[in-house]
């Protein structure tokens, strides 16, 4: 409709079709919501909503299937990569992705993610690293930083007792089957935009059958960190980014590769 001064009103941004209308149960300011949005936007843009199957984890994003407007399965805790493998093998022309938290992927599901990557399983993994077990109320995750207080490390993560944070990009990039392994952050607009590009790339890697792709997203959990949404993003930037360097850890030769950062 043409408006004043010969200008027309143009819709620049609205909720992607790959998300349902439903309000999420996430806490205010939780970056799970941003991740959902980015994935949905990418799937919208690729025109794959009807040919994508998602696998939800056990974690705060357990109800992801209520928010993504596409076929979805709910996995057992940590087993999403195995479930996705089953789905993908029998439906190779569907896009299959898992959406997993750090407890789910790096702790209980460590074997499944390692082997999915090792097999070069042609799936995409969206990995939400918020350095905590969100859903169960804030216990230590494998990615919890040294010294970080959680409900199961009340005096801060003691590396003598609980060891060091696991760096999943670094580990999985060692796998020959891994095609695209990158880490991005959601702590500000610029980084969110980069994260979206990486998600797009990851799904394209799958579409082209190049192999296993994973995008790790440094994320916030204001509720269990006990700070505001904005403070939480600052915490991501100031504490998580140094501990989990952003970058492209593995980019298969046949990908029109992006650069570090």
């Amino acid at each position: 409709m043409t408006g004043r001064d010969g200008m027309v009103e143009s819709l620049i941004y609205t909720k992607p079709v790959s998300l349902t209308e439903r309000a999420t149960h996430y806490c205010p300011g939780c970056t799970h919501g941003i991740s959902h949005r980015l994935v949905a936007e990418v799937i919208d843009e690729m025109g794959r909503r009807e040919t994508t199957i998602g696998v939800a984890p056990v974690g705060c994003s357990v109800f992801a299937y209520d928010y993504f407007n596409m076929d979805f399965a709910e996995a057992a805790h940590g087993r999403a990569p195995a479930m996705a493998t089953g789905l993908k093998r029998v439906s190779p022309d569907r896009l299959v992705f898992t959406y997993q938290g750090d407890g789910d992927l790096a702790s209980i599901g460590a074997a499944e993610i390692l082997h999915a990557a090792g097999r070069g399983e042609n799936i995409t993994v969206i990995f939400i690293n918020n350095a905590i077990y969100g859903m169960t109320g804030g216990q230590m995750a494998p990615t919890t930083l040294p010294g970080q207080k959680t409900t199961s490390t009340p005096s801060g993560r003691d590396i003598e007792m609980h060891g060091f944070p696991l760096k999943m990009c670094e580990i999985l990039s060692q796998m020959d089957g891994a095609a695209y392994i990158v880490r991005r952050s959601l702590h500000d607009v610029a980084h969110i935009r980069k994260a979206k590009k990486a998600i797009r790339q990851a799904f394209e890697v799958q579409e082209q059958g190049i192999g296993f792709s994973m995008v790790e997203l440094l994320s916030s959990c204001p509720t269990n960190w006990g700070i505001s949404a904005q403070e939480a993003l600052t915490w991501v930037e100031e504490h998580m980014v140094p501990a989990f360097p952003l970058g492209d850890y593995k980019v298969h030769a046949s990908i029109n590769a992006g650069k570090k950062g």
Binding site: T2, G3, R4, D5, G6, M7, V8, E9, S10, L11, I12, Y13, T14, K15, P16, L19, A23, T24, Y26, C27, P28, G29, C30, T31, H32, G33, I34, H36, R37, D188, V189, I192, R193, P222, S228, A229, Q230, L233
Partner: protein, 81 residues
């Protein structure tokens, strides 16, 4: 003259305040006078001078996809309809 505006869906907004920190024009504020059905103060566009550019930065950070962004573009640049 505003070159854009946004709408915030109060069913979705959880009052996280993130959008208010990123708007380059500082046009977003929390509506402390009311609660959303979920009990939050929603964000709102306060743009008396029509400064919103429709840059969509606010929507990039909104975790709840609560923000819809419109921009006024020259008719010739706009897509069909």
């Amino acid at each position: 003259m505003a070159s854009g505006y946004i709408e915030i869906d109060e069913e979705l907004c959880k009052g996280c305040e993130l959008c208010t920190t990123v708007c380059p024009k500082d046009l977003l504020e929390m509506a402390l006078d009311r609660f959303t059905p979920k009990g939050y103060h929603p964000a709102e566009l306060v743009d008396p001078e029509g400064a919103c550019t429709g840059c969509a930065i606010c929507s990039v950070i909104c975790p709840d996809a609560a923000i819809t962004v419109y921009r006024f573009v020259p008719a010739e640049k706009a897509g069909v309809s």
